[in-house]
């Protein structure tokens, strides 16, 4: 049966076809739909979990793979930074059953902190990496990845990019999921306990093996070439290959080489492809990885070859490629005429539509409460990653720093140690708290920081598409395992003050913030109110005759439901959720409805 699915769906279906026994991940755009798809298709016998973070996910999977099971781990590229500790060691130890780490890269970046390149991580860890160019290929390639992992007893990395993850195509889906039969763990401390001597021994083995894998990859079905023979050739990987193909369909005489396995580089395949080639253009996103591999190859074999790409300024280092950008680069390279571009010069000024916190978002109320309470104080507002990063926008302007998941809690401590006059606050979402916030709180207590931790508990992982987390109580097996209490965790760590407030009870929230800010030590406020995208509300606020059009509500909250109609403040009833924040901000008592009902 054919199904029209997203690239991430294709990866999930490919893994099911490969008989995957366990799949673990932590949400992150553009990877999240892989685990979500697995949950939607028949998967009786598969252990499925949203792990607490990427490191946990990889470690859970590693033990399953030691036991001979097939294990899938999914994350976004920065997730691999978190999972890099187990990954680096696991590369030395190896696996018994296939273990595939999907780490989704995000050129652009479209929704990520960095433009890092997972292929470098594969090289760094000395393990193979697969780089699909389309959803169809991803479906096939993820199955190959399991096979290679088992053949060479090594974890392998599978790295799609956003356009592959989020592109749609039809996939021929098998009708039955048959989990792999596996033998179970066989104790062997010489193999599974990492010691310096083991690492030394395996290091040599791995380098020899990688030469072998490179040879094997030289015959790999997705390392291909088409067109030619030509003196000028093109080498591409991932979706850039598709962009190149789009242009080169009009230039069939030009040789187009696709590299699907960036590491270990398929050297003998490439040497064969280079026969008669004098100049080659490298098209890839993120870092010039295959370009550098080619330069190494050319050096090793004394090839006379002109290599164009990022290192020569022909291809930009940053941002994603596109059909258009690649067409332009190719046409310059091939010295052919460009089609006339659409002239944008006469286009009227377009309205900007920046992302904002939704109308009714509890994060707005939490930030507003802290802002009001601290109006006259010197403050440090350490933000973190999630929807609440949008608290940086005007008029709230409540995020001074944002670095990586979990960093808000620890950075606030740094500020408190270098400036005892300032009041340092950390803002952290509930999912982020469980993923990497707890260690930071322990650190604060033991090292006598003076900070207020604001946990923005909206009972979901909103930013990445509303996945459950330990505080929501339902796991991916569909079991109700009970909610893990953030209050109990904080009490357990030894915080003297842990107060839960509803951010929409503004006065109480402001008082709580003041009280905590005045108390020395590590304090926590749990701002608890569900994400309005999940818990739909039919309540609405309305403006009455007392409104003097002072616009304070708009100026202070920035809620998108507050609009101006013919110069007068009105409430867009299609957006309003009746949260009542504006009602409490209004000095004229001119807003009604909502919380009264």
């Amino acid at each position: 049966m054919k199904e029209y699915v997203m690239g991430n769906g294709a990866i999930a279906l490919g893994a099911l076809k490969a008989g995957v026994n366990i799949a673990c991940g932590y949400p992150g755009t553009p990877s999240s739909e892989i685990i979500e798809t697995l949950a939607k298709y028949p998967h009786e016998g598969l252990h499925l979990e949203w792990s607490v973070n990427e490191k946990a996910a990889l470690e859970v999977a590693a033990a399953a793979a030691y036991s001979g099971a097939r294990a899938l781990v999914t994350m976004k590229q920065v997730g691999l930074n978190v999972a890099s500790d187990p990954l680096m060691s696991l590369a030395y130890v190896g696996v018994e059953g296939g273990l595939v780490v999907v780490s989704a890269d995000d050129p652009g970046p479209i929704s990520s902190q960095t433009e890092q390149d997972t292929r470098r991580f594969a090289d760094f860890a000395r393990i193979p990496v697969f780089d699909p160019s389309s959803p169809e290929e991803a479906f096939e390639m993820i199955q190959d990845a399991f096979d290679y992992s088992e053949k060479y007893k090594t974890p392998v990395i599978f790295r799609p990019t956003t356009r592959v993850d989020h592109g749609y195509a039809s996939i021929e889906v098998g009708d039955k999921y048959i989990p792999k039969d596996y033998e179970g763990f066989k104790k062997d401390s010489g193999r599974f306990v990492i010691f310096p001597r083991l690492s030394y021994k395996n290091h040599g083995m791995i380098e020899d093996r990688n030469i072998q894998i490179g040879n094997d990859f030289s015959d790999y079905r997705f390392n291909t070439s088409e067109g030619g023979p030509s003196k000028k050739a093109v080498m591409a990987s991932g979706v850039s290959y598709m962009y190149a193909k789009e242009t080169l369909k009009d230039h069939p005489q030009i040789k187009l080489i696709k590299i699907a396995t960036a590491y270990p580089f398929p050297e003998s395949f490439m040497l064969k492809q280079l026969e008669g080639v004098e100049e080659i253009l490298c098209l890839e996103e993120l870092s010039p990885y295959i370009e550098e591999q080619l330069l190494k190859l050319a050096g090793k074999h004394h090839l006379t070859l002109k290599v164009d790409g990022k290192l020569t300024g022909h291809v930009p280092h940053m941002g994603e490629n596109s059909a258009d950008s690649v067409a332009k680069i190719l046409k310059a390279y091939l010295e052919t005429d460009l089609e006339a571009e659409y002239s944008k010069k006469d286009i009227p000024t377009l309205p900007v539509r920046p992302p904002v916190l939704c109308a009714g978002c509890p994060h707005r109320a939490s930030f507003y409460a802290v802002k009001k309470a601290m109006e006259k104080e010197k403050t440090y507002y350490c933000g973190d990653i999630g929807c609440y990063t949008l608290g940086n926008a005007m008029p709230l302007d409540m995020v001074d720093t944002c670095l990586c998941m979990g960093a808000g809690v620890t950075m606030a401590q740094g500020f408190s140690h270098v400036d005892s006059d300032g009041k340092a606050f950390a803002f952290i979402g509930d999912s982020t708290f469980f993923a990497s916030g707890i260690n930071g709180v322990v650190n604060a207590v033991i090292n006598e920081a003076d900070i207020t931790i604001c946990i923005l508990d909206n009972s979901t992982t909103a930013m990445t598409g509303h996945q459950p987390h330990p505080g929501t109580g339902i796991n991916m097996m569909g079991h109700d395992v009970g909610k893990i209490s953030i209050t109990n965790i904080l009490n357990g760590i030894g915080l003297k003050k842990v107060i839960t407030v509803d951010p929409f009870e503004l006065d109480k929230a402001i008082e709580t913030v003041k009280e905590c800010a005045q108390t020395k030590g590590v304090k926590a406020i749990i701002f608890k109110s569900p994400c309005i995208a999940i818990e739909k509300s039919s309540k609405k606020c309305t403006i009455n005759d007392s409104c003097v059009n002072c616009k304070k509500c708009i100026r202070e909250t920035g809620c998108p439901a507050l609009i101006l109609t013919d110069g007068k403040v009105t409430i867009d009833q299609s957006l309003c959720t009746g949260c009542g924040l504006c009602k409490q901000v209004c000095p004229m008592n001119a807003i009604g409805g909502a919380t009264d009902e």
């Binding site: 054919k2 029209y4 755009t29 553009p30 479209i110 929704s111 389309s134 959803p135 956003t162 356009r163 592959v164 989020h166 592109g167 749609y168 195509a169 039809s170 979706v239 598709m242 962009y243 193909k245 789009e246 369909k249 596109s322 059909a323 258009d324 067409a327 089609e339 571009e341 659409y342 944008k344 006469d346 286009i347 009227p348 000024t349 377009l350 309205p351 900007v352 539509r353 920046p354 992302p355 904002v356 939704c358 005007m394 008029p395 616009k551 708009i554 100026r555 920035g558 998108p560 507050l562 609009i563 101006l564 403040v569 957006l575």
Partner: protein
């Protein structure tokens, strides 16, 4: 068949359903289809696009500039934002009802869509429709996507048959709203047939 259809609007307008129906219709008539949608930070009020590429010669997941046969525009500024994708002889179906940016009350731009419509009138082959008025007739703003889909189909630029599209709509909308959606599609279809191909 080779066809490139770009659907654009702002988050929450129902562009995704329209793109799914176009893709499903083309597939059920035996075509290869690929599509790409904006996902991620895109949320209510942000610009969204769906690129639907029909045919075996479409490699890039997104439509290259100047290659779209048809733009289905849910909002005038969003059509202008994406106008570079339209081919020289392409058609744009444009809802003239503007959606102000959600930040409009904080930073007034006075945007009301008129300059966009003006621009489109002068430069592009368009079918304009007052989506708000048409949807009021149909009873809910929820039918905007199916109405615009109907216009696109009626214009003859979609390349899939009316019946195929209707059966794909039926599969994808809640039974309760089936009749209303078909009505929206048919009234759009009529507009498309009457206004199609006229400059």
């Amino acid at each position: 068949m080779n066809k490139d259809v770009l659907i654009c609007g702002v988050g929450g307008q129902g562009t995704v359903l329209a793109s799914r129906i176009i893709a499903a219709s083309a597939m059920s008539e035996g075509n290869t289809v690929h599509s790409a949608e904006t996902i991620g930070m895109a949320q209510r009020g942000g610009p969204v696009t769906s690129h639907v590429r029909i045919g075996d010669e479409a490699y890039s997941p997104m439509i290259p500039s100047g290659k779209a046969d048809l733009i289905i525009g849910f909002e005038p500024a969003e059509v202008v934002r994406n106008i570079g994708y339209l081919s020289a002889d392409g058609l744009a179906v444009v809802n003239t009802s503007a959606v102000k940016p959600v930040t409009e009350s904080l930073a007034e731009t006075g945007y009301d869509g008129s300059s966009m419509i003006e621009y489109l009138k002068d430069n592009v082959n368009c079918i304009f429709v007052d989506g708000e008025a048409e949807c009021t007739k149909l009873g809910s703003a929820k039918f905007l996507n199916i109405l615009l889909l109907g216009i696109a189909a009626g214009s003859g630029r979609l390349g899939t048959s009316k019946d195929t599209i209707i059966s794909e709509i039926e599969k994808r909308v809640p039974p309760k709203f089936k009749d209303k959606n078909i009505q929206a599609f048919l009234s759009g279809f009529e507009i498309g047939e009457n206004k199609g191909e006229s400059k």
